[in-house]
């Protein structure tokens, strides 16, 4: 109970970010980049083991944006010119221009690479069909629904391949699900296509947004575990679960990934105990609010350490 994990992405060390920039400009060979991606993946696996995290991740050192990464490896997508996301930040948004296909497995090789490095289970990490659709332009499919369902087919194939390779945990992230509550049913249908028939434990991570509107349908999500950010909302989200017998496991984000401040162990323990008044201990998985990629490597390690130490302390108290 109170198993610890992380949401997916971990920060890239400086040697990797500088090399990625150079590789984009064609100044560095793809093989050199790959070697550094493998090096930092090894380092992160080792760090997670040393910290004592129960379910580890590969840290997504080889991914940029969580949607663009899949779009780059799927057929039917092309990259757009720059669009602004906020302030002075721009990105290239994928455009669906043809039938979506998966020429070959996308994440399986990296999953295998990471799993060979550790005895702990490594989570398979995918981006969900609704989010890929919502964060792309669509010039090919007649509707948002048609595009979402087409993406669901290829993400399902990817999930199957991860399971076949041995993944015991498969997380399908749907951060966009909270944007348009009127499309929640579509997101649920598409996620169902991905997870149907999987024996691996399935998880979805949702963040940012109109929780009040999607809350009532949370129990319909076709996954074993729903992972949510609690820390950056002062654990107010717990109120939603109070007095309900929520039928799924809950991934409990206990440290804020957008804040430089490292939470204290006591603070996280106190919040975990608060959660235990509402949820059963075997129902809870403990992790940061979201991917840690925006923090410095040092901050990420310290945040993960607090997650593990607090979860351990509470576990001890429950057992004795």
């Amino acid at each position: 109970m109170l198993l610890t994990t992380s949401v997916g992405s971990l920060p890239k060390p400086e040697y990797l970010t500088t090399t990625r920039t150079k590789a984009r400009k064609g100044e560095v060979d793809a093989r050199v980049l790959r070697e550094l991606e493998e090096r930092s993946t090894r380092e992160w696996i080792k760090t997670q083991e040393e910290l004592g995290i129960d379910i580890v991740v590969d840290g997504e050192q080889y991914r940029g944006d969580m949607v663009a990464y899949f779009a780059e490896h799927l057929g039917g997508f092309k990259e757009s010119e720059l669009v602004r996301s906020y302030g002075n930040r721009y990105y290239r948004k994928p455009i669906i221009v043809g039938k979506i296909t998966r020429p070959k497995p996308i994440t399986v090789e990296w999953w295998q690479f990471a799993q060979q490095l550790t005895k702990q289970p490594v989570k398979g990490m995918l981006t969900g069909p609704y989010t890929i659709m919502d964060w792309s332009f669509n010039e090919h499919y007649p509707s948002r629904r048609a595009a979402t369902l087409a993406i669901a087919q290829v993400i399902r194939d990817e999930a199957r391949d991860l399971e076949r390779a041995g993944a015991q945990y498969i997380q399908v992230d749907e951060p966009a699900i909270s944007t348009r509550p009127d499309e929640m049913d579509l997101a649920i249908e598409a996620l169902g296509i991905v997870t149907r028939g999987l024996r691996a434990k399935t998880i979805t991570h949702i963040c940012y947004g109109n929780f009040a509107a999607i809350g009532p349908k949370l129990h319909q999500l076709p996954v074993d575990q729903v992972d949510l950010e609690f820390a950056n909302r002062n654990f107010e989200l717990l109120e939603f679960f109070r007095g309900k017998r929520f039928p799924k496991e809950v991934g409990l984000g206990v440290v804020d990934v957008h804040d430089h401040r490292i939470e204290s162990r006591d603070e996280v323990i106190k919040n975990l105990k608060k959660a235990l008044k509402v949820l059963r201990p075997e129902q809870i998985y403990v992790d940061p609010d979201c991917g840690l990629k925006t923090r410095s490597p040092q901050e990420a390690v310290e945040k993960l350490r607090v997650v593990v130490e607090a979860a351990r302390a509470v576990r001890e108290q429950l057992l004795h």
Binding site: V83, R84, S85, Y86, G87, N88, I95, N138, T179
Partner: protein, 326 residues
């Protein structure tokens, strides 16, 4: 029919007026560029997007809101009483804005947009409209720690926006537009929205407009099209597929601006499809009271597709057989 854009336009164009604004802003933030140097880049890009709109054949232009990060902070950061906070989602888009927090009664010390409006208007012989956030949306998208009630907050913002609108009209803006996307979400307080809009447009010696986009039009459509204290109402008929049908059941008492190209998707509309939309509203308003534009600002699109959309719009109007008869 008049062709226009709603407000913003891509700030960068890899194949046209460059991406230099990104570097200029970063350098300015690091104090490696002076205010005057950044201003020169803003002016250069503003001029380029105005020329591009002109060349595409639009009748009524905007400055492209090249200096704006989003609809509300561009005003709020110049008002006393506001602090600009962290990122929040911009309605149902995967785009973020900085949420203004109101700590004390807001005060406008001096005109905010007048100088940049004058610059933009000087870049072209075509008319350039001025765009402001609507008071209701401005209030809804801010966090109010002062009034703690929507009504006094929205009405106070309406007074401030009114001063700005009056000054913009005095600077020559033929049309002052108020954007109210918040009316497409939840259950908007239409009585308050109309009252605030009335306060914002009072005594403005120019044509006035309200634009709504995103979401669904819920109960907003009928009150706006019959009673809004403005000359022109802009309606997004792309985001809500039911909007066009709903529109046809109403008596339109205002000039109508039809948001008929999807500025949130790169897929280019066909001329035929646009003509069908034009025909669908021909009995609602005579063509001299009809404006056509994309459904919202063009900045959600990469530059080539944004330009393609406005070119397609003007082409559709040029080739519309009904253009001369209605």
């Amino acid at each position: 029919m008049i062709t226009t854009v709603v407000g913003n336009y891509p700030k960068v164009a890899e194949g046209a007026y460059s991406t230099k604004l990104i570097g200029a802003i970063s350098k300015w933030q690091r104090k490696e560029l002076t205010d005057a140097q950044l201003e020169a880049v803003y002016q250069e890009i503003t001029r380029a997007v105005i020329q591009e709109q002109e060349a595409a054949g639009l009748d009524l232009l905007t400055d492209g809101q090249i200096r704006w990060e989003d609809l509300v902070t561009s005003l709020a950061k110049h008002l006393e009483g506001f602090e600009i906070d962290g990122l929040s989602r911009w309605f149902d888009n995967n785009v973020y804005y900085r949420r203004p927090i109101l700590h004390r009664a807001p005060v406008r010390k001096r005109p905010i947009l007048v100088e940049t409006y004058r610059f933009a208007a000087g870049c072209t012989k075509r008319p350039v409209k001025a765009v402001l956030p609507g008071p209701y949306t401005f209030a809804q998208m801010s966090e109010d720690r002062h009034f703690k009630r929507l009504r006094p907050f929205a009405l106070r913002l309406a007074e401030i926006l009114n001063q700005e609108a009056i000054d913009l009209a005095r600077a020559g803006a033929p049309l002052v537009q108020f954007d109210e996307p918040a009316l497409g979400f939840g259950r908007p307080d239409m009585k308050l929205a109309l009252e605030a809009l009335g306060a914002a447009t009072k005594g403005v010696k120019a044509k006035t407009a309200v634009y709504i986009y995103f979401g669904s039009l819920n109960g907003a459509l009928e009150p706006l099209l019959t009673r809004a204290p403005v000359d022109l109402v802009g309606v997004d008929v792309v985001s809500d597929p039911k909007a066009l049908g709903a529109l046809k059941r109403l008596k339109v008492a205002k000039e109508l601006a039809l948001g008929c190209l999807d500025a949130r998707n790169t897929k280019l509309e066909s001329i035929k499809g646009l003509h069908e939309v034009f025909r669908a509203v021909r009995r609602l308003v005579p063509s001299d009271r009809l404006t056509v534009n994309p459904n919202c600002g063009l900045e959600f699109l990469p530059h080539p597709q944004a330009l393609a959309k406005i070119r397609r719009l003007t082409e559709a109007v040029r080739t519309y057989p009904g253009a001369s008869t209605y």
